[in-house]
Symmetry: C2
């Protein structure tokens, strides 16, 4: 299985963050690391900013030959399990496109953008709906 990379923005703040404590993004990183231990082929990488500052917390999911997805509005405590479940579904696809009904609700609502596999977009299969997936 090719490695999946989960980028976690550690700069994301949330209203109510303790100014002397860890930011929400850093807390999400910790929660993900706590729960991701032992997950095969997953690398959790802190990033200083994903430029989605208005919808914290923010993560991005990427793997070779798969679409990259960016998600916002992730709760720093509660979303870690959801994110890991979503990543497992992502890793099980050939191209990163998880069928809509199999996506966690937080991914459906929180999707910020998706980017085709680099270097070339794969042709979409016939019958792919036109609207956002």
């Amino acid at each position: 299985m090719p490695e999946t990379i989960l980028y976690v923005c550690t700069t994301c703040r949330r209203e109510g963050d303790d100014p002397d404590g860890l930011r929400a993004g850093a807390r999400l990183l910790d929660a993900l690391r706590d729960r991701a231990g032992g997950t095969p082929d997953l690398r959790v990488e802190p990033v200083e900013c994903l430029s989605v500052c208005k919808r914290p917390c923010t993560v991005a999911v990427a793997a070779a030959d798969r679409w990259t997805y960016v998600y916002g509005d992730m709760d720093p405590a509660a979303s870690a399990e959801t994110i890991l479940a979503g990543l497992a579904a992502y890793a099980a696809t050939p191209d990163g496109i998880v069928p809509w009904r199999e996506r966690p609700s937080a991914f459906k609502k929180g999707v910020i953008a998706r980017i085709p596999p680099f270097p070339a977009p794969r042709p979409l299969p016939a019958g792919t709906p036109e609207a956002a997936e």
Copy 2:
């Protein structure tokens, strides 16, 4: 110079689009192709959806070993020149991070997200500001 790929969402609609005509995203693709002819190391790729449906028109910029940027709110006619100027600045950097003051205003306002170079984020240089770049 490594190739830069400009993904253009051709599904993006704008209010006022002629229902029998080309969608705004497809018109932006045409405008970019018209003006990009002969630009070295640039590939313009149509994509069916970048999942930024609320901020049409949308494009993404990617290159090997550089950060990927996603931009929205692009005008289908007027933004082609701006996008190409922004891409030239992007291509001239080692990592895709164009200094803030050198970015086109439409890129500053329209940034949707940025994603680190795959497979690993590069360490940010000392003194990099914390907030969105």
